[in-house]
Structures are given as structure tokens and as C-alpha cells.
């Protein structure tokens, strides 16, 4: 018997092939987009973990000097006292467009790293003495080795694949010269097996602080907000995909009611039927899920290089651009497909199981029950209110997203009610019978289309919201670049000596030479980069201050005050008038806060004299040069020729801006890609809804046709209806999108990156999106309309025939 029942159930899909395809595509899209984001996130996290293992990060307790570097004498003191510590010097090296991290470790005392073992066991092991004595050896991934080939002044490179990308490992002595930080140590790691009785730290080095291995912030935590962002988008796409599944399954069940009634009348129990249908759905979910995994894999492969570039650019996080297939990723993707499908079908299954044996088999009954439901709009209002309340009560990225999610889903749930109200108003207002019918019929169609329209609303709102955020950001960012990159030419010398020489040569030839010198300090909120500036009109006129005080620059140049960036200000809640401690004996008033995009770390600006006091010996290799713009090219070439500098060491402002903008664009490539995909999925959801509603349409259309409208007229009206619904939805999506943009700019961005951006409106973008929506609605409706146009009258007449 079971076989017969299964055959009967499956026969439905044979007749409704398009419905089956829609269902599978819906599952595949939902799973695919979600899995792609998961794969990207997992790959990035795996990279961090690999890097931690390869560099033995996070395994040992550490000693740090909160106000900067540790002098070598302290290291000696500690070792003499019996402390088993190993020194580490870190810094970064700009090679062309790439910024490489340099990790210098005391090769003698530092625990042996996998990269060192690998090099020592290679076919041509280096002489251990070569590693330690000048010029020393650099260990780096083969890709970095290739990059460094053009830089003969660097020590020889030994390739190893046991290091993260963009990192150079070397002995601390070599690193000192490379980074120009002689006698300095960034941190000391405390090795295991300390002797029993050593002098306490407070006696030998009271200024050092011990951090436990477990208490340190690692890359994974730093990049959490970025990954959360991606996950939120993945979830949105998943939800939009599930709308398709829900709609299709609902209709399929409705169409199978008659068959199910017959089966029950023939003695099959409801329980058996529900089981069989559940298994059927599970199988479909697995097939769709598998398709989705294939899609997700390729999508992730396409997205990862950009994500990796973003993470490297923003957080210096070591991420490869390669995606690998993990079985647990595939399994969790399938589980997601299964859970999503069952979730989306749960409602339909439940209603099926409650269906009385004798209820009418028609679709009317199915529709009737969905409309007039008060619970859904109430839930919508509740979700919106809940989201807003949460964001008021709690602080944090998760709650920011909770607010966004609450507002979005709540508004989506309210959409059918709102549309119904608007349509009723139009209906009352129109006079002609055909127009009245069009509106009435549109309202009757709403329950069947509402899921697709909700998906469209979400996709449109996300597009407007994220689009507004990115465009606002871009506008702010370019304006900010104009203020920040004021010098016409930027020079980076290989070392401080040559730097001085260049500066001296330049001084009589140009308007101003502005040294760019910085030192890395530690602040309680993380690393803090301290910049020294000399008194110049350029700063006073152009620097992008978002909070200022009277005489701010005067006080900074007089060595009495400090300027800090927005990230630091928001993170530590420091504003003009507050104090910032830069070193134990060095506290300055905050005179202003400036905007600073592109890095999540804290920054502060003091006068050059102050910098020399706080961090003596900060290298002087970089300069900004003010010169008449028309002389810039010529001057850049002169400097290159005279001091034999490579092309990338002397960069003009325009190039610099282009490079910065390129990094910026890359940051949002992934977001925009997911955005467009979500919109595509929503468009597809409308198409499939219209196609699956097709069978329901004939009983609506046939009577009107019989009363004297041509098929061509009716087909036009079908298209008009779909375009009208999409238009109304788009109109409602606009305010929602702007609310979303505001939430992203004012809440999520502040939490994720530490800066708040002004919001700009881009009506041209809306018009474009609006047009895109109309085209999508038109195309989606064109197929059913064409079908109607070609429909033989005999098929329309079947509606009136007895067998219906």
C-alpha cells in the first residue's frame, strides 16, 4: 500500500514540474548563499588559527610595557634574575603596495616554530650561524619571497609554507635593523618551566605588565564584527530563499488536498501521510541542499579573494585567498537546507494534518484561512518595537543587528496589511468596473503573493540601506581623503639617514616638507599609534576635525595638547577637555577629535617635540611634500633619479588617493555582491509565485473574459497588476531602507568599526533601483501573461465545465 501512496503523492511533481524546479531552486539558493558566507568565514577563521599555531601566538603569558617598547637592558635584567623569557620585536614593512608584518624573535630562546623546523629539515638547510649574524636570513611564504626578490638590500629569504601570508619571520637582531628599532623589544614571552624561586617582577621591572595567554585579544576577536556582518547578510539571503520554499510548498499542499482527501477516504491515516510527506520534503531538501552546496562553493571561491584583501587591509589579518572543501561545512549546509525546508513547510504541514476529511478541496479554502489573520501584523508590530527597545537597553554589535533584524522582519510581516489598505483605498476611489476588478483581484491575490513581496521588500530595503551606507561612506571617505592627503608628493626613504638627506635637499626647493613619523604605544583599548607633526598651515586648514576647541592646533604645537581619532574617542569615551595618558609621566589634554577611516585602531597626534620625548628614535623615513601641483610630477621624478629610489617610494597624491579608494571599494565588493544576489533571489521569488499562482488565476480570469474582455486586455492587466504591486512594495521599501541605513551608520558601524558617518541621500540610486524593480516585476509577469495571451479559449472554457 505504501508504494501506491508514494506513487500517488509523487505523481503531483510529475504534473507540476515547474513547481518542483522552483522548490529545488529555492532550497538551493537559500543553502548556497548561506553556505558561501559560512565557507568564507570558516576559511578566514581557519587562517587565523593556522597563523596562531605557526607563530605560537596565544600559548604563552606575555610581558608588555604599557607605554611603549621594552629596552634591551630590562631583558638582560630579567634573564640574569632567572626569568625564562624570550624577546619579540614586531613591526611592519611597506613593500610596494603590500604591508608585511615583521616578527623578530630571539631564535636562541624562543620556542622552536614550525617554520624554523621546516627550513632546517629542508634539502639545503642553512648554516645556523647565518641565521643569527648579519645580514641574517628572512623566513617567509613563497609568495612573499617572490615579492622580496626585487629588493636586493634585504637579507636573503628562505621560503617556507609554515608561515601565514604577508609575514616575515627572522631573528630579533635582523629585525632591529630591518625595522630600524635598535635595542627595542615589543614584548617578552614567558616560557613554561620557570624556576621555583625567582625575584618577583615588581622588583626587577615594575613598569612591565603580565598578560595571561588566555586574556589576550586575538585576530579572531578583532575581526568578529566583520564576520558578524557577513553572517547577517548570509542569514538575510537564506531567509529570502526560504520565502520561495514556503510559498511553493504551501501551494503544492493546497493543490494536493483533493488527492490527500481521496487517499484518506481510501483508508490511509493522516499520520502515515504526514510522515510520508515529511520524508518527501526531507529528500527534496537534500537534493536542493546539494545543488546549493555546489553553488555555495563556487560563490565562496569567487568572494574569498576580496574578503581576504579586506581583512588584510583593515585588520592586518592573515587570510589566504584559497577555499578548501571541508566535510563538516557540507554537512552543516545540508542540515541548514533540511532545517530551513522543514521550517518553511511546517505551517503547511500543520494545516494539512488538521484538515478535516470533508473540507472543500478548493484553493479558496486555503486562501481564505490565510487572509483575515490578525496574528501576523501584531507580531510585526511587536518585532519592530522589540528591536527598538533592545537597541536602547543594550550596547553592542549583536544588539545593533537585533534591532535591524527586528525592524526588517517586523515590517515585512506588516507589508500585506499595508498593501491591502492601500489597495482598498484605490478600489474605493476608482469608478470603472474593470479598474475596480483589477484592484479587488489584486487584493485577492495578495495572500498568495505576500511572501514573494515580503522577500522583495527585504531585498529592496537591504539594497537601499546598504547602498546608502556605502555611498555615504564613500562620499565621506573621499572628502576625508582630500583633507588627509594634502601633500602633493609622498616619499618613503629606505632608512632615516637617507630620509634626513632627502629632507635637507628638498627644503629650499618646495613649499613645505612635512615629516610623517609615528610610534606604536599600548593603550588600555589596544595598540595606539602616536604621530608627530610640525607646525604647518596644511594641518590647521585641512585636518578633518569632528570635534574641536579654540586654539586646538596652537596648543598641540605648543606641546600642551593632543588630538585623537574618532575610534579612540568613541571606544574610551574621551572628548575634548578630557585627558589622555601617553606614557607614565606624560598626560595631555585632548584638544580635538578627527575622523579617521580605514583602520580600526586608535591614533593620536602630538607635536614633533612631544613625539621625540615619548618615543625617542621613531624613524624619520616618510615625508609629505607641499609643492605647486603642476610641479609634482617633475619633482617626484627628480627625487627618484637623484636618490635612486624605486617608483613606489615616491608617490603622488593622485596615486595615493586611487590606491586608498581601491582598498575602500574592495571592502564593499562582498556586501554589494550579496546585495545584488539577494535582489535577484527576490525577483525569482516573484516569478515563481506568479507561475505557481497561475492555476489559481484561471477561475478569476475566465468569468471576466466570458463577460467581454479579450485575452490581450487581460494579459495586459496581469502585467499591470504585478508591476503595481512591485511599485507599492518599492515605495514602502524606501523609508524602511532609510531606517536601515540610519541603523547601519549610527549603530552598527560605530559598534563594528568605531566611527559614525553622516548620512547622505542618493535619489538617483533609488530611481535606478526602482526601475530595476519594475523591470523585474514586468519580466516576472510577462511569462504568465504571455501564457494567457496564447491560451486557447477551450482551456478557459474548461473552468466552466462540469469537471472542475
Amino acid at each position: 500500500m505504501t508504494r501506491a501512496v508514494i506513487q500517488a503523492l509523487l505523481s503531483h511533481w510529475r504534473v507540476h514540474r515547474l513547481q518542483l524546479a522552483t522548490l529545488l531552486i529555492g532550497i538551493a539558493l537559500a543553502t548556497g548563499l548561506w553556505s558561501a558566507v559560512q565557507a568564507v568565514n570558516a576559511e578566514a577563521r581557519a587562517s587565523y588559527e593556522r597563523a596562531n599555531d605557526q607563530l605560537a601566538f596565544g600559548q604563552y603569558d606575555e610581558l608588555r610595557n604599557p607605554s611603549g617598547m621594552i629596552p634591551i637592558s630590562r631583558y638582560v635584567d630579567l634573564r640574569r634574575a632567572g626569568w625564562q623569557v624570550a624577546a619579540v620585536l614586531e613591526g611592519s614593512l611597506q613593500i610596494g603596495e603590500r604591508r608585511l608584518q615583521v616578527l623578530g624573535v630571539d631564535m636562541v630562546t624562543y620556542p622552536t616554530l614550525p617554520a624554523v623546523t621546516q627550513v632546517e629539515q629542508s634539502a639545503t638547510p642553512p648554516n645556523p650561524a647565518d641565521m643569527l649574524t648579519a645580514p641574517g636570513r628572512l623566513l617567509a611564504a613563497p609568495s612573499v619571497q617572490k615579492l622580496l626578490r626585487d629588493h636586493p638590500h634585504l637579507p636573503p629569504v628562505l621560503p617556507t609554507d609554515a608561515l601565514p601570508p604577508d609575514l616575515i619571520l627572522t631573528d630579533i637582531g635582523v629585525a632591529e635593523t630591518l625595522l630600524n628599532k635598535p635595542g627595542q623589544i615589543s614584548r617578552l614571552i614567558v616560557l613554561p618551566n620557570q624556576p621555583q624561586s625567582v625575584q618577583p617582577l615588581s622588583d626587577i621591572a615594575p613598569e612591565l605588565e603580565l598578560t595571561r595567554a588566555s586574556a589576550r585579544i586575538d585576530t579572531a576577536q578583532l575581526t568578529d564584527s566583520f564576520h558578524l556582518n557577513l553572517t547577517a547578510f548570509g542569514l538575510l539571503s537564506f531567509a529570502v530563499g526560504l520565502f520561495i520554499v514556503h510559498g511553493t510548498v504551501g501551494l503544492a499542499f493546497a493543490q494536493r488536498r483533493a488527492m490527500i482527501r481521496t487517499l484518506r477516504a481510501l483508508g490511509v491515516s493522516m499520520q502515515q501521510l504526514v510522515w510520508m510527506i515529511t520524508i518527501e520534503l526531507a529528500l527534496l531538501a537534500l537534493i536542493g541542499g546539494l545543488l546549493g552546496l555546489v553553488l555555495g562553493f563556487f560563490l565562496a571561491g569567487a568572494l574569498l579573494p576580496d574578503v581576504a584583501a579586506t581583512l588584510r587591509g583593515l585588520y592586518s589579518a592573515p587570510v589566504d585567498g584559497q577555499i578548501t572543501l571541508h566535510p563538516h561545512w557540507a554537512l552543516s549546509g545540508l542540515a541548514m537546507a533540511l532545517a530551513g525546508t522543514l521550517l518553511a513547510s511546517g505551517h503547511a504541514l500543520f494545516r494539512l494534518s488538521r484538515m478535516p476529511l470533508l473540507t472543500g478541496a478548493g484553493l479558496q479554502a486555503w486562501r481564505g484561512a490565510t487572509s483575515g489573520n490578525r496574528v501576523i501584523p501584531l507580531a510585526g508590530v511587536f518585532l519592530i518595537a522589540g528591536g527598538i527597545v533592545i537597541s536602547y537597553l543594550f550596547d553592542g554589535l549583536i544588539f545593533g543587528f537585533a534591532m535591524v533584524a527586528g525592524i526588517l522582519t517586523g515590517s515585512a510581516l506588516l507589508l500585506p496589511v499595508l498593501l491591502s489598505l492601500v489597495i482598498s483605498a484605490f478600489q474605493r476611489w476608482t469608478q470603472s468596473p474593470v479598474a475596480q476588478w483589477v484592484w479587488a483581484d489584486m487584493r485577492a491575490q495578495l495572500p498568495g503573493l505576500s511572501l514573494a513581496l515580503m522577500a522583495l521588500l527585504l531585498a529592496l530595503a537591504a539594497n537601499i540601506g546598504v547602498g546608502t551606507m556605502v555611498s555615504s561612506f564613500r562620499l565621506t571617505f573621499t572628502g576625508w581623503l582630500d583633507q588627509r592627503l594634502t601633500s602633493e608628493v609622498y616619499v618613503t626613504a629606505p632608512d632615516s639617514e637617507l630620509g634626513q638627506e632627502i629632507a635637507q635637499w628638498l627644503t629650499p626647493r618646495v613649499t613645505a616638507v612635512l615629516p610623517i613619523r609615528s610610534a606604536e604605544l599600548m593603550h588600555e583599548t589596544g595598540p595606539l599609534f602616536l604621530y608627530g607633526v610640525i607646525d604647518d598651515q596644511t594641518y590647521r586648514q585641512k585636518w578633518p576635525l569632528i570635534a574641536s576647541t579654540k586654539d586646538d592646533w596652537d596648543r598641540v604645537f605648543a606641546g600642551k595638547a593632543v588630538l585623537i581619532n574618532e575610534q579612540l574617542a568613541r571606544r574610551s569615551n574621551l572628548w575634548p577637555g578630557d585627558f589622555l595618558t601617553l606614557a607614565p609621566d606624560h598626560t595631555l589634554t585632548i584638544a580635538g577629535v578627527y575622523s579617521d577611516y580605514g583602520n580600526p585602531t586608535g591614533q593620536a597626534i602630538v607635536s614633533m617635540a612631544q613625539l621625540d620625548q615619548i618615543a625617542p628614535g621613531a624613524e624619520a623615513r616618510r615625508f609629505g611634500i607641499r609643492v605647486a601641483p603642476d610641479r609634482a610630477s617633475e619633482l617626484a621624478q627628480d627625487i627618484r633619479d637623484r636618490f635612486e629610489l624605486p617608483r613606489h617610494a615616491v608617490v603622488q597624491q593622485a596615486t595615493m588617493k586611487a590606491q586608498s579608494l581601491a582598498v575602500f571599494e574592495k571592502t564593499f565588493v562582498v556586501t554589494s555582491a550579496l546585495n545584488i544576489l539577494t535582489l535577484g533571489v527576490a525577483g525569482f521569488a516573484i516569478l515563481t509565485s506568479l507561475l505557481t499562482l497561475w492555476t489559481q488565476r484561471l477561475p478569476q480570469i475566465a468569468p471576466v473574459w466570458a463577460l467581454g474582455l479579450t485575452r490581450a486586455q487581460l494579459a495586459r492587466l496581469e502585467v499591470l497588476r504585478s508591476v503595481l504591486l512591485a511599485t507599492l512594495t518599492a515605495v514602502l521599501a524606501l523609508p524602511l531602507g532609510l531606517v536601515l541605513a540610519w541603523a547601519l551608520l549610527a549603530v552598527v558601524n560605530v559598534q563594528a568599526f568605531g566611527w559614525r558617518l553622516p548620512m547622505y541621500l542618493f535619489p538617483a540610486d533609488w530611481i535606478y533601483l526602482f526601475a530595476l524593480t519594475l523591470v523585474a516585476a514586468f519580466v516576472a509577469a510577462a511569462l504568465p501573461a504571455l501564457r494567457l495571451l496564447r491560451l486557447p479559449p477551450a482551456d478557459l472554457l474548461k473552468v466552466f465545465a462540469n469537471e472542475r
Binding site: Q364, G368, S432, P433, V434, Q436, W437, A440, D441, R443, A444, P699, Q700, A702, P703, V704, W705, A706, L707, G708, L709, T710, R711, A712, Q713, P792, P793, A794, L796, L797, V799, F800, A801, N802, R804
Partner: protein, 215 residues
């Protein structure tokens, strides 16, 4: 002569001919019953007369207009202005209320008359149901709305395809009474398809369709 059906031939794609050579005529104000076995082509013939479908041979002339000369919009125009239809089921527009359904055809045809519509609703006992939607009506009520809508446009010809096929005997008798009374009142001609000899007997004439011919 209001309706003249002349040697009509009709077959559906991939099927045997349904109507081989059918001829009949109907005068203004006349009522005619069409009977025949199930599947003999009664509905088909009615649909052809209503300009809903095209035929393969012969000619149908309605109120002086030869249907074979009409295109899609010409046929739609004819349906709008000269004929009204009552089917066995699925007569009504589901998304409109009873009131809107009642006046829909008349307004399409541009001959809406509020007084006449109210009168019809009264006569058909629908006055209390005007705000309802078709899905909340019984079969008999739906049929009465369908008749009301058909008559509201004051058609010259009313075509009815088993209008009482879904109803019990009492309801069926009621609906038929109303329909005949309204036809008499407006002077319309009626072509009615039925299985029932009793119903057929109440009309002016009766023809029988069998094997694709009128007998």
C-alpha cells in the same frame, strides 16, 4: 431572427468532431431547450453561440452579425453587449462582492441602471447578501446572482448551460421560475441546456443533440 446556427462543424484538437452539422434558429423572445447525452456537445454549441470559441465550418449569425467575421476583440464586444451567460458553476468573479458582481456586466456594457439592478436584487432575494463575497454563498444563491448579473445588462439573448445542475429539486425549480419570469419580463430569448425533461417541457421548444446532429 435573433440567432441562426447554420451547418456548424466543430472539433477539438486531437479529438473526433463533436459537432458535425448542426443547424437551429431562435426568434426574439423565444425560449428553447437543448438536451442530449453527456458529452454530446451541448456546452460546446452554447459556447460557440456565445462567441466564446471559434468553429471549423458553417456560420452563426447573432442579431445580424456573422460570427466567423469577427476577431478576438469583435467577439469580446459581442459578449459584452448582446449576450449574457449563465454557467453551471464558476459564474461569479471571486474577488468582487455580490453587489459588484450583479452590476459588473451592465457597467461593462455601459448600460448600468441602478433602479433595475435594485429591482433584480429584490426579485432574486439577494438584497441581504449584497456585501458578501461569492465564496460565502450557497450554490443556489450563487446561481441567482449569476442570473441577476446576466439580466442586469438587458441582453437580447440569454444562454444558460445547466444553470440548475448543481441544485436540489426545490432550489432548481425556484431558480428556473425566476429565470423564466425575468426573460418574459425583458423579452429576451433563452437558449437553455438541460438534462431534465421536466425543465425542457416548460420551455417553448425543445431540440435534441446526438451524434453531432440536431434530431
Amino acid at each position: 431572427m435573433l440567432l441562426r446556427i447554420d451547418q456548424i462543424q466543430k472539433s477539438y484538437p486531437g479529438g473526433r468532431p463533436v459537432l458535425r452539422d448542426v443547424s437551429l434558429t431562435l426568434d426574439q423572445g423565444e425560449t428553447l431547450a437543448l438536451t442530449g447525452e453527456s458529452g454530446c456537445g451541448k456546452s460546446t454549441l452554447l459556447n460557440l453561440a456565445a462567441a466564446l470559441d471559434s468553429f471549423d465550418g458553417g456560420e452563426i449569425t447573432l442579431d445580424g452579425v456573422p460570427l466567423s467575421t469577427l476577431d478576438d476583440s469583435g467577439r469580446a464586444d459581442l459578449r459584452r453587449h448582446r449576450v449574457s451567460l449563465v454557467f453551471q458553476q464558476f459564474n461569479l468573479i471571486p474577488s468582487l462582492t455580490v453587489e459588484q458582481n450583479l452590476s459588473f456586466h451592465a457597467r461593462l456594457a455601459g448600460c448600468h441602471d441602478t433602479g433595475w439592478s435594485t429591482h433584480l436584487a429584490d426579485r432574486l432575494g439577494l438584497s441581504d447578501l449584497l456585501a458578501r463575497y461569492p465564496e460565502n454563498l450557497s450554490g443556489g444563491q450563487q446561481q441567482r446572482v449569476a442570473i441577476g448579473r446576466a439580466m442586469a445588462a438587458r441582453p437580447k439573448l440569454l444562454l444558460a448551460d445547466e444553470p440548475t445542475g448543481n441544485l436540489d429539486e426545490t432550489a432548481s425549480a425556484n431558480v428556473l421560475d425566476l429565470m423564466l419570469a425575468l426573460v418574459a419580463e425583458t423579452g429576451a430569448a433563452l437558449l437553455l441546456v438541460t438534462h431534465s425533461q421536466d425543465i425542457a417541457a416548460r420551455l417553448d421548444r425543445c431540440v435534441h443533440l446526438s451524434g453531432g446532429h440536431i434530431t
